[in-house]
Subunit: 92 residues, 2 copies
């Protein structure tokens, strides 16, 4: 699994502007009405993550959920990250 | 809801030594076999938290879950925090 190229980074950023793109990770904070809404989303993300066997860091702060994706084995961003981000965005 | 006293802090710390006691919060990291184990625990915690209407910060890192409890409206620790911690420990 190769790291994504600069052009792929730009394409991801253009297509998914809500995701913050850092050197080696992408992250997005999602807000819901309340904790129940946040947990419903986390459950959806968990099922997608387990299916892909690629697991975001998940931070829950009552009604807010921050996901951070990185491919630690490669030390940066791969298509595993961008594809899971796209799958997550397709659920909301 | 009053902040807990110094004596209550000492009692909590003695009874629940796995919880790290800071000025205004308590936290504990739980480790599981894998992400599925971590999510099963998070679901249990979420149900307890919603029942108590008191919600920890929850950080999921694959097989590890860190919970942080504080009563933000009081600016510190109350019995809401220590009682939810005790309920969580009783589940594992």
């Amino acid at each position: 699994m190769a790291l994504i190229t600069d052009i792929q980074r730009q394409e991801f950023s253009a297509s998914y502007p809500e995701w913050q793109l850092d050197d080696s990770s992408i992250s997005r904070t999602f807000a819901f009405d309340d904790f129940v809404g946040a947990m419903a989303f986390v459950t959806q993300v968990a099922l997608l993550a387990e299916k892909a066997f690629h697991h975001p860091d998940i931070d829950i702060r009552w009604n807010k959920v921050t996901l951070t994706l990185s491919t630690h084995s490669e030390g940066g961003l791969t298509s595993h990250d961008t594809e899971l981000a796209a799958s997550i965005d397709a659920q909301i």
